[in-house]
């Protein structure tokens, strides 16, 4: 019986990167990711992790270093938040197009301005279309586990795609909670050393990052699109095998009391836990309420999502980012798109909440669901805004 150890989630994440035998850590500090990279620096300095820790001068360099190191076959890691992600974003797209299995932990934090250090999803939504595999972690255990799952899936010859794990800044990064550490022998069984398909080496020279003109560009992007869509069965396989070793099985969509639910709340990230308490409260009051938590963001699990909300009459989507001048939140936009072609589709009400660290309590979720009953399903509402 594995023992749970109390530790800060950031520390657990860094320990996972160590256990995964990462070769290169290239990162620049930014609140609230700092504890992860500080602990990694300590581990490398103490010799606990045999890796190169490269204290780069910016996040743009961090991702550039990872692209280069991954291209020569090194298992590479970086981690950032908010403005750091924005600064490295041009290379983020390139990493996916070059099919480099880099792992990035993103401590979700609001994109400025105003300047803020608190948690929401505006940063990850800004790179929604970058081509990476993207998952959301709900708690510390999931963050820890997905470092191993991330590398395993990313490096799978059938995938070869960079992998992004979202963890809510502060709410997860700075939370001390119980974590069940995995035995190193089990980690080594699950995650073999990285064997690249192509790598840069004088003995077998190749070109990576070539130029493509209009005649070929569409085909190149089609290939990338198919790769991301095609990664889904290998993500499932990675999760299945992880579950077989640890007893923790993950799915693209996590469902809570959805079987007979008429009203379904949709969340991403750590607020899923709080939301489940609201569902329990509503059920006690006689409401047939359920919760869908989207773990796999890219590739979006359309089939699993439609299946999960099959019987619902009302779907309330909680977004933690705003698409200014657009249809509301990015998550609701995707969900409406997922349901559009269906014969019978539920009303979709979009609520935006939890912006830049504004607390969301179970009562807030209950109120959102109650208010949504009157909603038309058009547009969106920013919950709790004053004025």
């Amino acid at each position: 019986m594995a023992i749970k150890v109390g530790m800060e989630v950031s520390i657990a994440a860094a320990e996972a990167v160590k256990q995964a035998n990462t070769d290169i850590v290239a990162a620049y500090p930014i609140t609230p990711q700092t504890h992860i990279v500080e602990h990694l620096a300590e581990l490398v300095n103490n010799g606990d992790l045999d890796a190169e820790f490269i204290p780069v001068e910016s996040e743009h360099s961090a991702m550039s270093v990872c692209a280069g190191s991954s291209a020569v076959g090194a298992r590479s890691f970086t981690c950032t938040s908010s403005q750091g992600l924005a600064l490295m974003s041009e290379i983020v797209y390139i990493a996916a197009s070059l099919r480099l299995p880099i792992l990035m932990l993103l401590a979700n934090r609001s994109l400025s301005g105003p300047l803020g250090i608190w948690n929401d999803h505006s940063d990850v939504m800004s790179i929604r279309d970058c081509g990476w595999i993207q998952v959301f972690a709900e708690n510390g255990q999931e963050v820890y586990d997905h470092v191993f799952i991330g590398y395993r899936v990313a490096e799978d010859r059938n995938c070869l795609l960079p992998f992004l794990v979202n963890l809510d800044g502060f709410i997860l990064t700075h939370m001390v909670e119980p974590i069940e550490m995995i035995d190193q022998a089990v980690v080594d069984r699950y995650l073999p050393p990285y064997k690249p398909l192509y790598s840069l080496h004088p003995d077998h020279p190749v070109t990576m990052g070539a130029f493509a003109d209009p005649a070929l560009y569409t085909e190149a992007k089609k290939a990338q699109d198919e790769a991301l869509k095609g990664s889904l069965p290998y993500i499932m396989k990675g999760w299945q095998e992880f579950g077989d070793l640890t007893g923790r099985y993950y799915h693209p969509i996590e469902r809570y009391k959805t079987e007979d639910a008429k009203v379904i709340l949709v969340t991403q990230g750590s607020l899923g836990g709080t939301a489940s308490i609201a569902i329990d409260n509503l059920r006690e009051k006689g409401e047939l309420a359920g919760l869908v938590k989207i773990r796999l963001w890219r590739p979006f699990p359309f089939k699993e999502f439609r299946e999960a909300v099959k019987g619902a009459e009302l779907v309330v989507v909680m977004d933690r980012a705003i698409s200014y001048g657009g249809p509301g939140g990015p998550l609701a936009g995707e969900i409406r798109s997922a349901l559009y072609a269906q014969e019978r589709r539920p009303r979709v009400v979009n609520v935006i909440a939890g912006i830049a660290g504004r607390d969301v309590a179970p009562e807030d979720f209950e109120r959102m669901l109650q208010q949504a009953q009157q909603g038309s399903g058009e547009g969106y509402e920013i919950y709790g805004v004053r004025g």
Partner: protein, 181 residues
């Protein structure tokens, strides 16, 4: 589930107290969460930390609005911040103060139980500093046995190393000297 809110000033170790409690509970095989009220605090500014302890998995991640226990590490905070806001009627306010529980109860108009100890004095005598976070853990455990006192020893030793012994002594003293009304 027990919810605890800790009040202190930046640099006094309120977050550390919350973490030590959580680590103690986790060592006992229970579930616990500890987190600060997130933000760029500076030394001396009033800060809040939170701790939840439960026998079951804790899914709630929001801020604690209705704590069962409020711990106040610094006497001046009592009059600066509404520390008893949301405190459950059957809960307890545990404060570092030289005044008695009766005095504090009257002064703040608190309906719940009140426990007090002069942690500044104990910390000064045992640790040579008025950093009261470990001392006040003793007061908290006296007022409400949320975690077995013995379960706190290992987390304290892991956190404080050579200085653990003195901190444990301060905790024990506060445990003995805390008065509860």
């Amino acid at each position: 589930m027990i919810e605890i809110r800790l009040h202190g000033r930046g640099g006094q170790g309120a977050v550390t107290s919350a973490e030590l409690l959580a680590l103690g509970a986790i060592k006992e095989g229970r579930y616990a969460q500890a987190f600060p009220s997130f933000g760029p605090e500076r030394r001396g500014a009033p800060v809040v930390a939170f701790c939840r302890i439960s026998d079951e998995d804790i899914k709630l991640r929001a801020v604690i609005y209705q704590p069962d226990i409020v711990l106040v590490l610094d006497p001046s905070i009592l009059r600066l911040v509404d520390v008893s806001n949301g405190l459950k009627a059957d809960g307890v306010l545990v404060a570092n103060t030289r005044f008695s529980p009766e005095d504090i109860k009257k002064e703040l108009g608190v309906k719940s139980r009140v426990a007090t100890v002069d942690a500044n004095k104990i910390a000064q005598e045992e640790l040579g500093l008025t950093i009261t976070n470990t001392t006040m853990l003793g007061a908290l455990l006296k007022a409400s046995e949320v975690v077995d006192k013995g379960a706190m020893i290992e987390p304290l030793q892991e956190r404080f190393g050579r200085l653990a012994e003195r901190n444990i002594k301060a905790l024990e003293r506060a445990y003995q000297e805390t008065q509860i009304l």
